[in-house]
Assembly symmetry: D2
Homo-oligomer: 254 residues x 4
């Protein structure tokens, strides 16, 4: 497959008195060195225990994004055989509840990761095995044979995981990044990717930040987080623009 | 010195419909395993080139925080001989301008790190040496003999630096963290500290997030970032509370 | 449990003309911050495919060490509830055969890690699942409920694994290290432990280096590797000394 | 410059009863993604304090290798503008003498790194500054303007350094690796390079392992270490083969 032409957007914070603001351009991306990175694309509110933790409006927006943006994005990437890499919360047996990080999840987010991040089909010496509580991946975006799957235990998908080796061995230089939550696991994973030299692009309509109840009517924190990422880390695109770029490239084939 | 009793605050984001919100408690901290971590406490707007990049209102707030909060905090920590560790931007010769990260600094923040992060007193084989443009540490919070100084080249003070080794060798378990900008280098450094198991506390009045011009009247992004950190990473305290806690502990000496 | 007194040995390589050589001392170790680290304690020659890769004399020595040194060591550690941490080869799906490291395993060691390191009870999205070829842990030293298990894919048990977090969260400062092969996975894992500040001790009779056929009569490479480790990385002890130290400490109980 | 054809050698340790042994091949290397990595190419025995630590025969071999192999290798690489990257011991102020690693250097190697690894031209907040004791780089292989220089404090040139970022930003895929000591800093740096996916080649005549006095007549440990590296990590070449390959490629130019 030939390179595809992807419209991207970034933000300019300078000069300090009157920032230049948004800028758009179209960049050429070689599919041979490009992967889709899906961060925590699971439905935490699937079970009763999970539902209590998640705001209803947020959960509705999540479902809409999965159906209308994320599923078409992933389906399109599959048609041109881009590697699909899942980075997902999990519960490795590392005594996380003895750590300041585990304490924060319990005290501030209201759940115990060694219970809420259990999975049925993991090795029980290495992971906490059990029926899922939060980790339900919607069928439309579920991993398929040949996809890659990286389990993480912090917000950063590169922290003590093999994500970097996987990307190096696949020859990936460009990461098209989507998933949840934009201001937490997407942010830290995307940042580490950028620090490691990956050319990273956020799919801004295929993500959602955590929002306080009074921010939810306009998804203010999501908007602010996108602008922040476009300023400090990486340009953004949309699922529609990505799909159009791929389609155009396919149509241009001789 | 005996343990000191520090009031801290964290935020509870659950349950989703009506979060419990702020919570306060007092924790006991052993000074023998505690350090002060100062992130990018430099005055970027000192020179003409730097001034253009920074908003005037932000810069005034920066100076006020340095004088009224940061300087007293550091001075107090010195009286009880807590290690003071600076983590600071720098320009190691790693061809950063060939990287997506370097491109972002140039395109979105408006400066070239290999020029703006020069320092006069570094080894010129390893670093870009030259007169400073952004890196002016205010005299009130300048490093003194015996302090530690870690040079970084990303937003994350642990990324490819010796900060973790320094902390391990010093026997540090608790990090009192302050500096700039709260939503960038403080955030990523503090997060990595938490992922590495350090018991980290943000000094919320001794930091400032990057703010868009229309957010500056209320420092809305700073407030939102503090709430985010208190929710996802670490509790916060204030410089006044820290100073009072140390003073009380000193007074209680037999 | 009280601290136990462990005899250790290290080597002095200086002065250059006439090195001082071996030195012995007894150190006090707090069991509350001590773990047993077992590196690749599997019997690679269990299956027909594996048997061909391993020299018969080496394999006999392996079995003797497991029975006479490693099993008693682990059993003793269990009586005083020291954490037992396994670090073991595995086959995460990271396209290792596309890498220079995978090429070396294939070309120089004669096996494909994505086949030889399969396991039956792992998640098939993340690992290559299948009947074992090399990974047979002898029953006498098999992991038990409550033990910890870290899967690695290089010679270094810390490389892209959660071993460091596990140790930090357990409060471990001292690592009693044994397993195979001394000059490969034990060496690199032990070295990284030392670089990370862990107080590491090699159990020198509970390990074995890879040996060329003409070295096997005296296990010359094992002897040289032990001396190397005692010189550059960490002191050593023996399983007997460890067991005696623990027993003495238990007997001294009031 | 076109790819050059480099003869390499690796070792086959299988089958266990009668290993296949050495194998040679010629590989094509793209100079655009190739760098020279020079590990600790300094003359430790230059000063009186350093001389005492190093064996005289070893020191003579060191000087011969520098003059006859390393200097021509580096000079040749400069003619075709391959990046030259130095990785070198140093003394960052991280309280290394409080660590098990620092203890080993003091007890087993006979020196204090915070004294012996001082340099005159480093920032004194970050490094121990002072007249050199061990760190004397011979003039024939001294760094020149435009070379890269990475300071390390362990045996592993990637541990808490920016070496990986430098290589990524330069677009390096192939590392031609030489320096000292082969069984210590070369070994650990080369291993980490391989784990990170770099295509690494040891220049086996441009390195020397630490040798015990009774091994020095045949440099037995160097020979054994080369065979070990060729078995477990990376193929080897010689300085002559490298220079011939570059010369041939230059002559083939149209």
């Amino acid at each position: 497959m030939k390179p595809f032409a992807l419209p991207i957007r970034y933000h300019r914070l300078y000069p300090g008195e009157a920032p230049l603001g948004s800028s758009q351009q179209t960049i050429s991306i070689d599919p041979a060195s490009t992967a889709i990175l899906l961060v925590d694309v699971y439905h935490a509110a699937e079970s009763i225990e999970g539902k209590d933790l998640v705001n209803t409006l947020w959960d509705q927006a999540f479902s809409k994004i999965v159906s209308q943006c994320l599923a078409p994005l992933v389906a399109c990437a599959r048609t041109v055989r881009l590697p699909i890499i899942y980075v997902s919360n999990s519960s490795p047996r590392v005594e996380i509840n003895s750590s300041p990080f585990g304490r924060r999840l319990n005290q501030s987010l209201g759940f115990d990761p060694s219970i809420d991040f259990r999975e049925p089909d993991v090795n029980s010496l290495e992971f906490d095995r059990g029926d899922p509580i939060q980790l339900f991946i919607p069928p439309q975006v579920a991993p398929q044979t040949g996809d890659y799957f990286i389990r993480k235990h912090t917000y950063n998908g590169f922290f003590e995981t093999r994500l970097d080796s996987l990307l190096r061995n696949l020859g990936i230089r460009n990461l098209i990044c989507a998933g949840f939550s934009e201001d937490v696991c997407v942010l830290f994973t995307l940042a580490n990717a950028v620090f490691l030299g990956y050319n990273t692009i956020l799919v801004r309509d295929s993500t959602l930040a955590t929002e306080l109840p009074d921010e939810l009517d306009e998804f203010k924190h999501t908007q602010r987080t996108t602008l922040w990422i476009e300023s400090f880390l990486a340009p953004s695109t949309t699922s529609e623009q990505f799909i159009a770029a791929i389609s155009q490239s396919e149509m241009d084939k001789p």
